[in-house]
């Protein structure tokens, strides 16, 4: 066999060695053979238990995890963007006070009152007309 690369037949030593070895293998006692068989079965079973599961077998777990993650993201998103809801009277914020200031600071407020007084006759006529009396 050593001369295999040279194209020659194996030597007598090689043949004899191989024959002796194979004979010793054949004469392995039954107890050892039984132990080897048990060892083989144990190895295959252990390998089967630790074999990584195919990706499609892990899908139910992946689906559950993805569902939980999506629900969490949705909840956080809604919470972050929800409009503020207030119950009870609106607060007197700065904008309302600004409006009052504008009205109070108006220079021609007196003119408006006088204009209303000038039209008192008109308002009296309008009231009579709505009450069903014909206009004069």
């Amino acid at each position: 066999m050593s001369e295999e690369n040279l194209g020659l037949e194996p030597t007598a030593l090689e043949e004899r060695s191989r024959a002796l070895f194979l004979d010793s293998v054949e004469r392995i006692d039954m107890r050892t053979r039984s132990r080897l068989t048990r060892a083989r079965h144990a190895a295959l079973e252990a390998a089967e238990r630790t074999r990584p599961r195919a990706w499609f077998m892990r899908m139910p777990v992946m689906t559950s995890a993805a569902g939980v993650a999506a629900a969490a993201v949705l909840g956080v998103s809604l919470w972050m963007h929800a409009p503020a809801v207030h119950h009870g009277p609106p607060p007197a914020d700065a904008a309302n006070f600004e409006d009052l200031d504008i009205v109070a600071a108006s220079d021609n407020s007196q003119d408006n009152v006088e204009m209303l007084q000038d039209d008192l006759d008109f308002y009296a006529w309008a009231e009579k007309t709505q009450g069903g009396e014909p206009a004069a």
């Binding site: 066999m1 050593s2 295999e4 690369n5 030597t11 007598a12 030593l13 090689e14 004899r16 060695s17 191989r18 002796l20 070895f21 194979l22 004979d23 010793s24 293998v25 054949e26 004469r27 392995i28 006692d29 039954m30 107890r31 050892t32 053979r33 132990r35 080897l36 068989t37 060892a39 083989r40 144990a42 190895a43 295959l44 252990a46 390998a47 089967e48 630790t50 074999r51 195919a54 499609f56 077998m57 899908m59 139910p60 689906t63 569902g67 999506a70």
Partner: protein, 205 residues
């Protein structure tokens, strides 16, 4: 519109690869079982010759089977044999190293120098099965003992090359893969091993 769960369930049902994959896995396990059954006895004898202890040899072979089944079961079956023997040789070498360290440690301790973990050999193990006549067996045993003794004298790499090439019948490329070296190194180791054995044993002993 189907809900999330419904969509997933439909998809799972539509996937028909699961049973086919289970079939492939089953077939693979059977093929591996057949391969291991074919090599286990020769592997055990090789490990026993290197370690000179049947229990240690059994441990190494079992560990080799487990590692091959766990890590390389999905590889093409043509690769199993060189991978198996590579794992086996690594296991043998690791055990020999541990023994050397343990032996050094034991020399510092008082008491008997023998290995305390070594159990008494079961007498049943040495009983041969019914086979050839007793004189023939004795002659074969003596010849085999000489061969084993000579193999133990060889450097580890030469012994590995001789066992894999001659006992297991592996070609140069497979042996190179199993030994983790080049094909040229395999040829060199094997040639030197045969030369040394011939010097020690004669052409036919």
């Amino acid at each position: 519109m189907p809900g999330f769960g419904t969509l997933t369930a439909d998809w799972m049902v539509a996937d028909s690869s699961a049973p086919a994959t289970r079939g492939v896995v089953l077939e693979q396990t059977r093929a591996l079982d057949k391969f291991l059954a074919e090599v286990e006895r020769r592997a055990f004898r090789m490990a026993q010759m290197a370690l000179r202890d049947p229990d240690d040899a059994m441990d190494v072979v079992q560990d080799t089977m487990l590692k091959l089944a766990r890590n390389y079961a999905t590889r093409p079956s043509e690769e199993w044999r060189p991978l198996f023997y590579r794992i086996l040789e690594n296991g043998v070498r690791d055990l020999q190293r541990r023994r050397t360290v343990r032996k050094r440690f034991m020399t510092w301790l008082p008491g008997p120098k023998e290995d305390p973990d070594h159990e008494a050999q079961d007498p049943l193990e040495s009983v041969a099965d019914n086979g050839p006549a007793v004189p023939d067996i004795l002659m074969q045993d003596q010849a085999m003992q000489k061969l084993e003794a000579s193999l133990r004298e060889l450097p580890a790499r030469q012994r590995e090359a001789f066992m894999l090439r001659n006992f297991e019948g592996m070609d140069v490329a497979e042996t190179a893969t199993a030994m983790g070296c080049s094909q040229g190194s395999v040829k060199t180791h094997y040639s030197r091993a045969v030369h040394t054995l011939r010097e020690q044993l004669g052409e036919v002993w």
